[in-house]
């Protein structure tokens, strides 16, 4: 994700729920815009537009890490990130 953000020329912010200073920010983001539950699934990915709107675009899979990786790869190859893929193919 960090590389995708770099290719797009946008900021990348990561909140680690195992780090005390970051968990509150992560909780707020998930509670407001994501898939909130008391012990919410991770990772969760959000995109903020230039207008300042935040969109939830991905939640990890409880089934397995492999499922999460596969689905995340689908996301990164989706039309949502088409501009990144177009640049990479040049």
């Amino acid at each position: 994700m960090e590389k995708v953000a770099s290719d797009l020329g946008v900021s990348f912010i990561s909140y680690d729920i195992d780090i005390p200073d970051q968990v509150a920010k992560a909780d707020e983001l998930v509670r407001k815009f994501g898939d909130w539950s008391e012990d919410y699934l991770i990772p969760q990915v959000f995109v903020e537009t230039k207008e300042g709107r935040i969109h939830h675009v991905f939640t990890g899979y409880s089934e397995s890490v492999d499922s999460t990786k596969h689905a995340l790869n689908n996301l990164l190859n989706s039309p949502l990130f088409a501009k990144v893929n177009q640049r990479a193919s040049r």
Binding site: D35, E38, L41, H55, N74, P79
Partner: protein
């Protein structure tokens, strides 16, 4: 790759449809690793209530055991340009980070091989049928 059984053994644990809104992840011994409720919307509280009623003797189903997820077209592999929500899921994982009892004799939730009912039995049991089907 088929996910592995969680909390019972290391065997592959596939997913089976219980009905048109519920999927059960079970290993070859029919131990339930996860139950997934799905639909256009899911209600975690309602799901918790439904779980508690699955089998007599099932204990310890708490709100913290239920986690939700939104699935969109892209992460399901559909090539769509919009961000329509495809389905909402609620996951329940049996014994997820809760029980301190590692005894093989503890009771756990199993899914009958006839795929129509849940039942409780000891973790180390080799039986794969509920009482009604076992005969």
């Amino acid at each position: 790759m088929t996910p592995r059984c969680y909390g019972h053994c290391k065997e592959p644990a596939g997913f089976e449809f219980k009905d048109d809104s519920m999927i059960v992840q079970v290993c070859p011994d029919r131990y339930v690793s996860r139950i997934v409720k799905y639909g256009s919307q899911v209600n975690p509280d309602y799901f918790k209530g439904a779980l508690r009623g699955l089998a007599s003797g099932l204990e310890g189903v708490e709100s913290s055991d239920i986690r939700v997820a939104s699935r969109y077209a892209w992460d399901l592999g559909f090539n769509r340009e919009n961000d329509d929500l495809m389905v909402r899921l609620a996951y329940w994982t049996q014994s997820y980070r809760r029980t301190k009892n590692e005894s093989a004799d503890r009771a756990a939730l199993f899914f009958c091989s006839n795929k129509d009912s849940f039942f409780m039995q000891l973790m180390n049991s080799s039986n794969r049928f509920c009482r009604n089907c076992k005969g």
